[in-house]
């Protein structure tokens, strides 16, 4: 894995991550998956979403029991298991689909996750079993992620534990290559963040994952926190954060200097039946006329539309005119509205894309 910085300006940076022949331009969004598959998109449709080599985020927590690590290892790793040879797979210990890292319940033996079979305490040993079987391209060590409102003492404990587990993971790593992301925790406490960042920077990791975001910190503080944490991290290493949801937050993260994101925002919109409709490029925005008086009064939300509502019953336009995605090229709002009404799962597939 090689990381090249190409340009930067005022904190934000654009770079290139290279994994063998695959290249990933950063800043980049990782697609969240459950058991390795995006929630509703099959393999052939994935080609439509990520025409060039895209990146997927998997959670090793999903792979602890079924399929068990022995099976994954016997197949030859997650790339072979899911035929993802042409994609980059990043393993983050955060499961955004519902098995939340239940920070306050972590013990000294491991972090706690809510799985379909109850709460599991996962220690570094078990975690590394899964990682060694999966062999993702890039993976983060096991963090002890704590919500931002916890006490300072708890944060201190989480930083200590994370560092300890980081060392354990590095020792248990079967293949010594430069694909490890060290996790920086510490909550909203700038002191702890600094300590964690510096200690992690001293280890032999090839990048950093900033943990603990999206777990209850105040959004206004987030940008400042990101900036201050990153100040202590070396520049030439890649940075990742998970848990930033909305596009505005992601942009804040980019401004602070993050390269890789994963976010469940698209998926949560899909599950509620919304589609994003904000303009993507600055050129479009110039031609985008401002809200008129009555629209403003009606408090229209211009960033997304609710496809459940009967407004779209006869609307034969695509979701966004001019969008090149599969759903907008091939289907209309009226069709997706009908699918949502009859509770068909194709609705989620199309909205996900």
């Amino acid at each position: 894995m090689k990381f090249l910085l190409e340009t930067w300006s005022a904190g934000a940076r654009a770079g290139l991550l290279m994994f063998g022949e695959l290249q990933l331009e950063t800043p980049c969004l990782l697609m969240v998956t459950k058991k390795g598959l995006p929630a509703h998109i099959t393999h052939d449709l994935l080609e439509n979403v990520l025409p060039d080599a895209g990146a997927l985020q998997i959670s090793p927590i999903h792979f602890l029991e079924s399929p068990p690590p022995s099976i994954v290892a016997s197949v030859g790793g997650v790339h072979k298991l899911l035929s993802l040879q042409r994609r980059v797979v990043v393993g983050i210990a955060r499961d955004s689909f519902g098995q939340e890292a239940d920070g306050l319940n972590g013990t000294k033996f491991g972090a706690a996750f809510e799985t379909s079979s109850g709460r599991r305490v996962v220690g570094p040993k078990k975690y590394m079993e899964a990682i060694n079987a999966l062999r993702p391209d890039l993976w983060a060590t096991l963090p002890d992620e704590v919500p931002a409102w916890a006490t300072t003492k708890r944060h201190r404990m989480s930083v200590d534990r994370t560092l300890r587990w980081l060392d354990d993971c590095l020792t248990l790593n079967a293949v010594q290559d430069n694909s490890v992301l060290g996790v920086v925790v510490g909550g909203s406490n700038v002191e702890e963040r600094k300590r964690s960042a510096e200690a992690t920077a001293r280890r032999n990791v090839s990048g950093f994952s900033l943990g603990g975001f999206g777990l209850g910190e105040i959004p206004q503080e987030r940008a400042a926190l990101l900036k201050s944490t990153i100040a202590y991290l070396p520049e030439e290493k890649v940075r990742h954060v998970s848990g930033l949801g909305m596009p505005e937050e992601v942009l804040e993260g980019v401004a602070a200097g993050i390269d890789l994101f994963d976010s469940t925002y698209p998926h949560s919109l899909t599950m509620k039946g919304f589609a994003m409709t904000f303009p993507l490029w600055m050129e479009q925005q110039n031609g985008y006329h401002p809200l008129s008086e009555e629209e403003h009064a009606a408090d229209m939300d211009l960033t997304k539309i609710d496809l459940h509502s009967a407004v779209h019953r006869c609307d034969v336009n695509p979701i966004v005119k001019g969008c090149k995605c599969y759903s907008c090229r091939k289907h209309t709002r009226a069709y997706i509205h009908h699918l949502l009404n009859v509770h068909e799962m194709l609705a989620q597939t199309l909205l996900d894309m």
Binding site: L37, T42, I71, L82, S83, H338, E344, M345, Q348, T349
Partner: protein
């Protein structure tokens, strides 16, 4: 249960005598068979289906061949008789009494230069039979949106979509027609909206052909909500049905568009179907459950004919199809094939025949041999959603524990995306837990059915239909209940012109075909990984079969 050779039937005593004579002379070493047949001739067996079943004391030394042989007797080619001709026995009499004698065609499996088929004046639709094998036909249907090759399986997309599969994926899979359901589409999104948008093709962006059912099946499936009169069918929309104090149960409401009762007359049904804009539409028929007997059935038949006249009168766009309907719900297998055979014998040759609700691969092969062309069923997609995958060897239950360690693809011979990319062990973990699991297995099942349709078509076209059926049967793992199905083969082998089906017996004690579940007391099956991972006939069919056999 079937335990021996299934001898086809001959009504001609002279031929039977010839057969006996020939068998004494040689053949494949099956000298004992004629004794069986003559013993049984004239004896009314209690159970029709046990054709050729041998008593236990019959020596089995002669049963040595280990393959399933299908032999085709081609009349007129006596020089290369491929096997002994079987004798006449009791079953033949019964079979002959009940079925009209089917027409025999010249045994030519070639492409006639101009095709058989009538070109209608408007040139929109035509059906051309490209090749035949006795009763089976391979033909080409030209429809406004697509040219369809039959025998053809049509996946069912009830509410305007096949569950979980996009139209692009369907095109990749090779689907040529898909089904839509008038009743559901008229409720949501509504016929007027579809007319406004320009038809279901535009609405779902499906460029190929569409077929709509008339709403007749809902008469059976939603019987407690429907009231059938001469005028039409009145459906209570779910919003309005409350508790009937006398007998009925509250029907929980979901959300149909409005609460008014919906009267579906033949004219209305055709109008809605025209608005939907399908390539093929069905006339509204008075459907009764197959287990009904008595005067209701006759009433239904006459009423259906009256309704067909009304439908044709109300039809704007001219299409012609003949359908054999009402055979979908759990009837006994022996009557099922008889009825199909009777219908195909009686219907015109140049029009396609559509058997509704036939989904099991074996049934499709059988009905194709009897002369039907089009099939639809929710079986492949529904069973895929519940974790059963269709493979040439049978039905694989992905939820079975033995699948957790099986790293092979679903079906090594299948070329669909799912079989190329995912292993059984992975699918086992997602199959009933994730939406994507059901999508993937449905995808594969549709691919399997498409391949089956394609194989049927090309095998008839190329003149190797018997060989194809033989291979198909050989690959499947037989369950004890499918033995029963095999015994029926004998009777309709005659009607379809395939003269003899032979099964080999391995197990001398039990006298059953080798690869049945009973004899497969092995944990490690080469394809299924364990005998528990094989799924077979659904319970309803099993019960009916058991009842028929008085087991």
């Amino acid at each position: 249960m079937i335990s021996g050779r299934l001898t086809p039937v001959h009504r001609d005593r002279r031929k039977a005598a010839q057969h006996r004579h020939q068998k004494r002379g040689g053949g494949k070493g099956k000298e004992g068979a004629n004794e069986t047949n003559s013993r049984q001739a004239g004896k009314e067996t209690e159970n029709d289906e046990r054709v050729g079943s041998e008593s236990a004391d019959e020596p089995v030394a002669r049963q040595t061949a280990s393959v399933l042989q299908l032999q085709v007797a081609i009349p007129g080619r006596s020089s290369d008789q491929t096997g002994p001709k079987p004798a006449c026995d009791a079953v033949s009499f019964r079979a002959n009494r009940e079925i009209k004698r089917p027409r025999r065609f010249p045994p030519v499996s070639t492409v006639p230069p101009d095709g058989h088929g009538r070109e209608p004046a408007d040139g929109w639709t035509s059906a051309q039979v490209l090749a035949r094998h006795n009763l089976a036909r391979a033909s080409r249907l030209t429809l406004p949106h697509h040219v369809v090759q039959t025998p053809m399986f049509m996946p069912v997309g009830t509410q305007g979509v096949i569950k979980g599969i996009t139209c692009d994926q369907l095109e990749d899979l090779g689907c040529q027609i898909i089904l839509g359901n008038t009743y559901h589409l008229a409720l949501r999104p509504g016929a007027d909206l579809l007319e406004q948008i320009g038809g279901l093709h535009k609405f779902m962006n499906w460029p190929r052909a569409l077929l709509t059912d008339s709403g007749g099946f809902q008469m059976v499936s939603l019987l407690h909500l429907a009231n059938i009169t001469e005028e039409g069918v009145t459906f209570q929309n779910r919003l309005t049905s409350g508790v009937d104090l006398m007998t009925r149960v509250t029907v929980c409401s979901q959300s149909p568009v409005d609460g008014t009762p919906m009267l579906l007359t033949p004219e209305e049904s055709i109008q809605i179907q025209n608005k939907i804009g399908a390539d093929i539409i069905m006339a509204l028929d008075d459907v009764v459950k197959t287990t009904t007997t008595g005067p209701r059935v006759e009433e239904a038949m006459h009423r259906t004919i009256r309704w067909i006249d009304r439908c044709v009168a109300g039809n704007v766009l001219a299409r012609q199809i003949y359908a054999i309907g009402g055979l979908s719900g759990g009837e006994e297998k022996d009557s099922f094939w008889r009825i199909v055979a009777q219908c195909t014998a009686g219907l015109p040759e140049d029009k396609p025949r559509y058997v509704m609700g036939v989904g099991f691969p074996l049934d499709i092969v059988v009905c194709s041999a009897l002369g039907a062309d089009m099939y639809d069923c929710v079986y492949p997609t529904r069973t895929g959603r519940f974790g059963s995958a269709l493979i040439p060897e049978g039905v694989l239950k992905l939820t079975n524990a033995s699948m957790a360690t099986d790293n092979r693809p679903l079906d090594p011979s299948c070329t669909c995306m799912v079989c190329k990319k995912y292993t059984r062990s992975y699918l086992h973990t997602i199959v009933t837990k994730e939406a994507l699991g059901s999508q993937l297995v449905s995808y594969h099942n549709i691919a399997y059915m498409m391949k089956l349709s394609q194989d049927l078509h090309t095998s008839i076209l190329e003149g190797r239909f018997p060989r194809f059926v033989q291979d198909f049967l050989q690959k499947q793992v037989w369950t004890p209940l499918m033995n029963f199905t095999l015994s029926i083969w004998d009777s309709y082998n005659y009607t379809s012109g395939i003269d003899k089906v032979e099964f080999a017996l391995y197990d001398k004690q039990h006298l059953k075909p080798k690869n049945t579940l009973d004899t497969l007391r092995i944990e490690k099956h080469p394809v299924f990984s364990s005998s528990a991972a094989i799924d077979y006939c659904p319970v309803e069919i099993q019960l009916d079969i058991r009842r028929g056999l008085k087991l």
